[in-house]
């Protein structure tokens, strides 16, 4: 799977999200994603990750072996810089 495909899927599921996905082994099945979205506001980490997993649907079970997730609100993202 191409990281761009994953970005597209996440962005489709969470329309207000800024998504950046990196394939960190080059093998097309281990990815690292940073997802920044105002819709994470007031949500715990479990709920945030669930939103991303939902956006990925079956791809998460079949094509993606590993996905390291960082889910941030825009304010949290600013603070990291």
């Amino acid at each position: 799977m191409d990281p761009k495909e994953i970005e597209t899927m996440i962005a489709r599921g969470i329309p207000d999200a800024q998504v950046e996905v990196r394939d960190y082994t080059g093998g097309g099945d281990h990815f690292e994603a940073i997802v920044v979205s105002p819709s994470f506001e007031g949500k715990g980490l479990i709920e945030r990750h669930q939103l991303v997993y939902q956006a990925l649907g079956d791809a998460m079970r079949v094509q993606v072996h590993a996905l390291t997730l960082k889910t941030l609100t825009p304010a949290q993202y600013q603070n990291r810089r």
């Binding site: 479990i46 990750h49 997993y53 079970r61 590993a66 390291t68 960082k70």
Partner: protein, 110 residues
């Protein structure tokens, strides 16, 4: 099907920190499982593990139980807390240790 859910429920109830992982604590079979176990080893708290690789039915059931598609899965005091990324993040922010210790202290006083 009902049996396996009962098995999961009793495992998360009996063990205040319960980790469903690939492999076991001495020989984790996946980097994410290994990283998760390492955090709890570092905290020095008691925890139990179940190997989903040796039990395909469990591997499937645990994902449905928590509605969470990945392994490892950590349960503290019977509640699903997260996978590797969440545990790592909670450890980095310093939230994890007091949470685990509070649960263990409450149990000790019962």
């Amino acid at each position: 099907m009902a049996d396996i859910i009962e098995k999961i429920e009793s495992a998360v109830k009996e063990n205040k920190v319960m980790i469903f992982m690939k492999g076991d604590r001495s020989f984790p079979q996946c980097g994410f499982s290994a990283a998760t176990v390492a955090i709890f080893e570092q905290l020095g708290v008691p925890f139990a593990t179940a190997d989903v690789l040796s039990d395909p039915e469990l591997r499937d059931a645990i994902k449905r139980y928590s509605n969470w598609p990945t392994i490892p899965q950590v349960y503290i005091d019977g509640k699903f807390v997260g996978g590797c990324d969440i545990i790592r993040e909670m450890h980095e922010t310093g939230e994890l240790e007091p949470m685990v210790k509070a649960v263990l202290a409450a149990t000790a006083h019962q």
